[in-house]
């Protein structure tokens, strides 16, 4: 049983890596599309979300197959149940990249109300969190997962900063309200991405230790 279980787990991990890189690409694509007001790229990200959804379904099926055939226990069981949970968060992260791209499609032909500085920084941190928590899960590295979860606070701080800044601009110039709300919404999606990454970090810790932390 052991050899075949280890092989199954390896295959499952490869599929998660694929899903992760698709998700990272979606976040990057959405942010580049925003910055360059590239509607084609935004549409590509939107279209790509279906592929990520089907990747999630594929991983779910693999997990079910392993449960049926291998009846995993203890650490093995926690690994599989954690995958079940974390791919839902990963899928939601990809959804938010799609949400951001949809906003880009709406505002791409408007002049941006300000140069984007903090939003790309915020996106960079959130994206790195996603990569790190998945790596933490894969390598069974609790420290790495915890370290990534800590960055959630930085992302939250960025959200507050961006929110206040945009509100001030909207107050002084009502003409930018529509775009201001759109940019705040994007910031909110990024903040949600970091929250989902934190959830994944919690599953990484649970998978390894059997204890489920809540951040």
């Amino acid at each position: 049983m052991r050899i075949s279980f280890d092989q199954d787990l390896k295959m499952l991990h490869e599929e998660i890596v694929k899903m992760l890189s698709m998700t990272e690409e979606a976040i990057d694509g959405a942010m580049v599309a925003l910055k360059n007001q590239d509607v084609e790229l935004a549409r590509k990200v939107i279209a790509g979300d279906d592929i990520i959804d089907s990747q999630e379904a594929k991983i779910e099926k693999l997990c079910l197959d392993i449960i049926v055939r291998q009846a995993p226990l203890a650490g093995d069981l926690r690994k599989i149940t954690s995958i079940f949970k974390l791919i839902t968060d990963l899928e939601r992260i990809a959804d938010h990249a799609e949400d951001i791209s949809e906003i880009v499609v709406k505002i791409y032909n408007e002049r941006l109300m300000k140069p984007l500085v903090d939003l790309p920084k915020m996106a960079g941190i959130a994206r790195t969190m996603v990569s790190k928590v998945i790596a933490g899960y894969m390598q069974g590295d609790i420290e790495l997962a915890l370290e990534a979860c800590k960055d959630d606070q930085i992302v939250d701080d960025y959200y507050v900063k961006i929110y206040n800044e945009l509100i001030e601009m909207m107050k002084s110039n009502p003409a930018v309200v529509e775009q201001g709300v759109a940019l705040i919404t994007i910031a909110k999606y990024l903040e949600r991405i970091a929250d989902h990454a934190t959830n994944i970090g919690e599953w990484a810790v649970f998978s390894q230790s059997g204890e489920h932390p809540h951040f």
């Binding site: 052991r2 009846a71 226990l73 203890a74 650490g75 926690r78």
Partner: protein
Amino acid sequence: MMKKYDIIEINDLNLFYGDTQALKDISVNIKSNSVTALIGPSGCGKSSFLKSLNRMNDLVPIAKTTGEVMLDDKDIFEQGYDIVALRKRVGMVFQKPNPFPFSIYDNVAYGPRVHGVKNKKRLDEIVEKSLKQAALWDEVSDRLKDSAMGLSGGQQQRLCIARVLAVEPGVILMDEPTSALDPIATLKVEDLIHELKKEFTIVIVTHNMQQAARISDETAFFLMGEIIEFEKTSDLFENPKDKRTEDYITGRFG
């Protein structure tokens, strides 16, 4: 359901076969009206432990036991302890169904007769009640005089359980009771175990990890004569505390 209490308390139990120590300093309590599963690799001592609970090891000439097994607050190893009464109170079901080559009726009536029940009506009642408790009555009530050897393996095993129940035990020891049965017969015995724990205390040795997970309330993991871990079953299978338990139940041993 009645309140659970420690029906068996084991203190510093050691068992030797000649120079070989089969059990080392076992101290655990078995809860009443519960199913306790004993798991571990072959030769780890789980069957020896099971047999200690009704002194079946007495039949092995070179076996020597130290420590206490307190059943109903009395040490079963105490000098003068009534072994016949012990085996009545603590019944046993084995791996391979072992019905006597008698009729179904006589198999179940055997124990009560040995213990002095002669009244035909009383015996009829005991046989019916025991077969019903063993979930076998509906399948055999019209052929009680037929030979037990004609029953299927699964039916024979439930008959052996009925035979144990007929003497009204408190504790039932089971040594891999389903390892010779097909999945359907196994399921019937497992369902039966689930029913029986309402009235009895069950201690079961199984090599089937999923079976232990399905049917038991608590699980003890044995290794080289020691209990490594004794936990609530769900805890032991979801998050074992000892690495050796983890390695065994996930198949990383050997």
